[in-house]
């Protein structure tokens, strides 16, 4: 029983997966997005009517579809980590390519949304809501692109046999970053597209 207790304690006392440095980066990013979200909420509280009216011009279907896409891509990344833990580098690479493909779907949907807004004459200076909407979603969009670049590098390294069941820190590092991108969107979508 005592042994079980020790095993349980040591199992709990793990560092997060991947390179420790990525976690400092992840929390720094989360802090920045957190400040952005709070600033959005405060600005909204000063002019609720403007925010609610402007929100009606957003494509909620596209936002919802992108949420499903990112959550599913995050799941694919979980499968990629599981594959490399078993030493199956080819399958790991395959799941990562699937996640990257879904990332590309997100990018296409988001670009279509941006295009529709610009075509309708909506810019950063249209009003406070669109200043926040465009800058927040574009900032997140850039993180999706960065995540896709990281996952692509990891997928190619996996395919070349650069990771194994004993050494897969790089896969977990890329995975952790991608989950962070998903996590931020999970808060951003309801806050900007749904709450009114």
């Amino acid at each position: 029983m005592a042994q079980l207790g020790v095993a349980s304690v040591s199992f709990k006392a793990e560092n997060p997966p991947g390179d420790l440095a990525i976690w400092f980066f992840i929390f720094a990013e989360l802090l920045v997005f957190g400040v952005f979200f709070i600033a959005y909420a405060v600005a909204r509280s000063h002019d609720v009517a403007l925010f609610d009216q402007s929100q009606l011009l957003l494509n909620r279907t596209a936002g919802g579809a992108n949420t499903v896409v990112l959550i599913t891509s995050s799941y694919f990344v979980v499968r990629a980590v599981a594959a490399i833990r078993r030493g199956d580098a080819q399958r790991c690479s395959g799941w990562l390519l699937g996640a990257i493909g879904l990332g590309a779907v997100f990018v296409v949907i988001k670009l279509a949304e941006f295009h529709a807004k610009f075509a309708a004459g909506i810019t950063l200076s249209t009003n406070t809501f669109f200043m926040f909407y465009l800058s927040l979603t574009f900032f997140h969009f850039m993180h999706v692109v960065m995540g896709m670049v990281i996952l692509t590098a990891v997928a190619f390294k996996a395919r070349r046999g650069g990771y194994s069941a004993e050494d897969y820190t790089g896969v977990e590092t890329g995975a952790s970053y991608w989950h962070m991108v998903d996590l931020v969107w999970i808060i951003l979508f309801p806050l900007v597209y749904v709450v009114h």
Partner: protein, 94 residues
Amino acid sequence: MRKNAQTAHRLRSSAGIWLLLLALTGMTISIGETGLGGAWVIGLVMGIAALKGYLVSGFFMRLRRTRLLWRLLMLGWLIGVVGTVTTVCLTAVK
């Protein structure tokens, strides 16, 4: 052997978490489609977001198996950000 069993268990729970996340997303989208607003909608939608954030950080990012410090940092971010945003939005409800 233990690692393989652990991986298989993680896969099963991850698939369940993925389906749960999709179901919660479906709820958020459905609430949005009703066009309803107000305090309870804000509370419900942001509560769902916090739960989804917990699931992603705990299960997909695997933070629930880490040292207390890491779990507290993530929970602090989730509760701090979602809690503040929700409170600010609720104070603006007429």
